[in-house]
């Protein structure tokens, strides 16, 4: 059985070789990987700490993982800040119960700086993610959530739909926009940071003059749009449209592209099931899992899945991406958003 120490030693010696996956390393890798799979099966389970509460993706992936390897993937869900404090306290006390983190790239980057994770070691699928996504020593990219605009299709005629982010500055939308709070961590903050960097402060000063009604009740907000309380909502997680079938709402992907947040996986330091954790990280990047994400409307991080996507999910999963967050700028951006949206 592979021990945690041997995995770490192996990873420390040859991280780049495994990340790139050169052909020369393939044969020993196969043998090592088979040992790891056996060790993971002996561990029997892997515990995932998930910061995206209620995501429909992970239960499907848990079922696929168990079907493939016979290893149970257990999910512990909590909101990002609560999960982060749990993880920090577990690490500080040495009572580590979780194996794998599934969280947004900003939170993962902050935890990385805190020394929360251990190197995952060589992964056969490490070379699969396509630019701009890549695997590093600690993190693997899993999928992204891109954001667009949700409109009430009974209130907004197709010709009037905002086609671009800048269209929401049209005076006709004054007092008509419901928004995810840009002053708090979440989709609103992602939208603020990306559009602030792409379109400048002026864009947000004008948007603030539109007097958007902001809160953090995402799911409630979708219903408020459908009921006709407001005609326009932003930023809207594109994949969520699949959960709103039958309601008078329509998603618009802005011409400039979709701001997005990437979700990362990483193995906790002193994880109780390190082999199963590593196996799961690799599984996240497999065609099987990436197809599950794509068909739930989330852009995958690997290429070559177009033929496997459903017609319904394809436009969502293939949305043009505008840009993502920079963890180093997050605090400053939150302060700016509070200044602009008082």
């Amino acid at each position: 059985m592979l021990t945690r120490r041997s995995v770490l030693r192996l990873a420390a010696l040859t991280p780049l070789a495994f990340a790139a996956g050169p052909a020369a390393a393939q044969a020993p890798m196969d043998a090592e990987w088979k040992k790891l799979v056996d060790a993971a099966k002996k561990e029997g389970k892997v515990v995932v700490y998930n910061g995206a509460v209620g995501t429909p993706t992970l239960p499907k992936i848990a079922a696929a993982f168990e079907a493939r390897y016979g290893i149970r993937m257990e999910l512990l869900e909590a909101r990002a800040s609560e999960l982060r404090e749990r993880i920090r306290t577990e690490q500080a006390s040495g009572k580590v119960l979780g194996d794998v983190s599934h969280n947004g790239s900003t939170t993962t980057a902050l935890q990385l700086a805190d020394g929360t994770f251990q190197p995952h070691g060589p992964l056969p699928n490490a070379g699969k993610p396509a630019a701009p996504f890549r695997v590093d020593e600690i993190r693997v990219p899993i999928y992204v959530i891109p954001y667009g605009i949700l409109v009430n299709s009974e209130m907004v005629k197709p010709a009037e739909e905002p086609k671009s982010w800048k269209d929401v500055l049209d005076p006709r939308w004054k007092g008509q926009i419901l928004a995810d709070d840009m002053r708090a961590l979440g989709g609103g903050a992602v939208f603020f940071m990306v559009t602030y960097q792409k379109f400048g402060r002026e864009f947000h000063e004008k948007l603030a003059q539109q007097q958007p009604h902001m809160n953090r009740e995402l799911r409630g907000n979708y219903r408020r749009i459908a009921r006709g309380e407001y005609p326009v909502y932003l930023p809207f997680g594109l994949a969520d449209i699949l959960e709103l079938k039958g309601l008078p709402v329509k998603v618009v992907i802005a011409a400039e592209g979709a701001p997005y947040v990437r979700f990362d996986g990483a193995v906790f330091k002193n994880a109780p099931h390190p082999n199963a954790a590593r196996l799961l990280l690799d599984f996240f990047m497999s065609d099987e899992v990436q197809t599950i994400f794509a068909n739930l409307g989330f852009p995958p991080v690997i290429g070559g899945l177009d033929a496997k996507m459903t017609a319904e999910a394809r436009p969502l999963a293939q949305a043009k991406l505008l840009g993502t967050t920079d963890p180093k700028l997050q605090e400053e951006m939150l302060k700016l958003a509070k200044q602009i949206y008082k």
Binding site: V47, R219, G246
Partner: protein, 574 residues
């Protein structure tokens, strides 16, 4: 001791009773210290340290300095104002409703008593959703009806306002206060009121100076409990206040923890301790108000509470109760009930009629596992908490023990701390627990947390009941040779049984709804219902949450039925 020369001096004997009493008190004190003071100590450390426990950092008063800023002072005054208005209105309404149910011949009082309490058991997020649909200025059903009837386009009601925040908080405060005070109305000895009337006092003076006067321990406790809970209330202000710039202390704390790149636990915990100090001022006020006075209404003499004959007016009081139930129960629960049979709540088209939400909940193994865990924790937690609370209340109210004030202060602590901060305290305390005891990661961590959270309510409920019991009952039992435990169980607890039952039910349902601590302490396999509800809600499955809430309401009916049967049995037996 008086001794006489020539008389054999009594040998210093081993006083087993006194020793047992001291050991019992020491165990009680130690239990409360572990339950309440230990997590508080962790939070205090957090408020005085630049980093949370377990991280290198330095001690500083930065959190308290930040707390004293102008912005926080304004928010604090805002919070106190909202909670005071809410508590005064809810208390007035609850007193009136309790009087109607307990002391008048209003028809269908038994049914009304159960219906009035129902809003307390509905998850706040669901009533918020319902009221959002009913009273939003843009397209709310009430406003649409108003415009349709009058032609006036300006909205009649706007739930996104101070009034909306207070109204949503009152949905919980009124039944909570009603539950706490209705028992005291019922156990009022009518001879005291009759004496007042015979001495020439008017009915109103008698009600004000005798009826309400004798209920002071119960009403002041209930007022303080409700006011403090109002200060710590979170959902109403977050959902209906924050979007229009109405900030309260808890939304500030929430923002410090959740809306920062790195959570500022130092300032968040300092702010929570600031509230705690202010709230203790209220407790001291209650001590001064009640100190040295007697509130006995239950004596060895039998009586039947006097019921006012209202004549035709009884239909007016009946209408008041029905109106209250229609607005606070009928409207939101009606929305949940109807919405649960449609694909989406609020979209009532025949094509969207479905049973899929009931099927989904029925087939969701996680829901059933969480329900099993929650019921187990609820039963164990509510029973353990009420027993502990009963014993603590006994020491506080019916003994002159030197540590009774310390016990009372310790018992108040968890109620003074906002739930989201206290949850962090539990996490730090249990995970960083030194020694071989492994509490974090087990179901027992949740149980200990729930007992801690429920203790203040249990102590206040039982204190109010014990304060009404005359000492002669207890003394009579002990004179006849009954040991302390038998007297406590067969006399005090039997007479205070209605309060015990109400406290038990309140704590049971608080456990069923508790999220702040649960989400930080649960583990895979030990899921509890509030966590699963949060997951379903986050997934956008409001309809399934409605189904679960309706199941909880069915449970309320079952429990109230059993409780009333038990109360009747016990009262007959006693």
């Amino acid at each position: 001791m008086i001794t006489l020369e020539g008389v054999v001096r009594p040998v210093a004997t081993f006083d087993a009773v006194a020793l047992g009493r001291r050991i019992g008190l020491a165990v009680l004190l130690a239990t409360l210290l572990v339950l309440t003071a230990y997590p508080m100590a962790m939070l205090l450390y957090g408020s005085l340290h630049t980093t949370p426990p377990g991280e290198p950092g330095t001690f500083s008063l930065d959190g308290y300095r930040a707390m004293l800023g102008r912005e926080n002072t304004i928010v604090l005054l805002n919070t106190i104002g909202i909670s005071l208005v809410k508590t005064v209105l809810a208390m007035t309404l609850a007193l009136f409703l309790a009087w109607i149910v307990a002391r008048t011949d209003t028809p269908y009082r038994d049914t009304l008593e159960v219906l009035i309490t129902l809003p307390f058991y509905i998850p706040p997020i669901l009533t918020a959703m319902a009221w959002g649909m009913l009273a939003t200025p843009k397209g709310g059903l009430i406003n649409l009806a108003w415009t349709g009837l009058t032609g006036i386009r300006a909205p009649l009601v706007n739930v996104y306002s101070y009034g909306g925040v207070v109204w949503h908080m009152m949905q919980y405060s009124t039944p909570f206060l009603f539950l706490l005070i209705v028992g005291a109305f019922k156990s009022m000895d009518p001879s005291l009121e009759e004496s007042s009337r015979m001495s020439g006092a008017s009915a109103w003076t008698t009600f004000r100076r005798v009826t309400l006067g004798l209920m002071l321990p119960v009403t002041t406790s209930a007022f303080i409990l409700s006011f403090i809970r109002g200060v710590e209330s979170f959902e109403s202000a977050l959902i209906f206040g924050a979007p229009v710039g109405i900030d309260v202390i808890t939304t500030q704390i929430y923002s410090l923890i959740n809306h920062r790149n790195r959570p500022d636990y130092q300032q968040a915990t300092a702010l929570a301790f600031g509230i705690m100090v202010l709230m203790f001022g209220l407790v001291i006020w209650q001590w001064r108000l009640l100190g040295g006075r007697s509130f006995f209404t239950v004596t060895g003499k039998g009586y039947t509470p006097r019921v006012a004959r209202l004549g035709r007016w009884r239909w007016v009081t009946f209408a008041v109760c029905v109106l209250f139930c229609a607005v606070t129960v009928g409207l939101p629960v009606g929305q949940l009930l109807i919405g649960s049979f449609f694909k989406y709540v609020g979209f009532y088209r025949v094509s969207m009629l479905t049973m899929e939400h009931y099927q989904a909940v029925w087939q969701n193994r996680l829901v059933w596992r969480a329900l099993g865990n929650t019921l187990l924790l609820g039963l164990l937690g509510a029973t353990a908490t009420m027993l502990l609370g009963g014993i603590v209340a006994y020491v506080i109210i019916r003994t002159r023990s030197r540590i009774r004030r310390a016990l009372e202060l310790l018992a108040w602590l968890p109620w003074m701390m906002p739930g989201m901060v206290l949850g962090i305290g539990f996490l730090w305390a249990y995970a960083l627990l030194p020694g071989p005891i492994q509490l974090y990661g087990t179901l027992w961590a949740l149980l200990v947390a729930y007992v801690t959270l429920g203790t203040p309510l249990a102590v206040r409920t039982m204190s109010g009941a014990f304060a009404q019991l005359a000492h002669d009952l207890e003394e009579c039992s002990r004179v006849h040779g009954a040991p302390w435990w038998t007297t406590f169980r067969r006399i005090l607890m039997a007479l205070a049984w209605p309060s015990f039952a109400v406290g038990w039910i309140l704590i049971f349902f608080i456990i069923l709804r508790e999220l702040s601590a649960s989400v930080l302490l649960y583990t895979v396999g030990n899921e509890v219902l509030p966590v699963v509800v949060m997951q379903l809600w986050s997934e956008g499955k409001a309809e399934q949450v409605s189904v679960i809430a309706l199941g909880m309401l069915a449970l309320v009916f079952l429990f109230r039925f059993v409780e009333r049967r038990l109360v009747r049995t016990h009262l007959n037996w006693s």
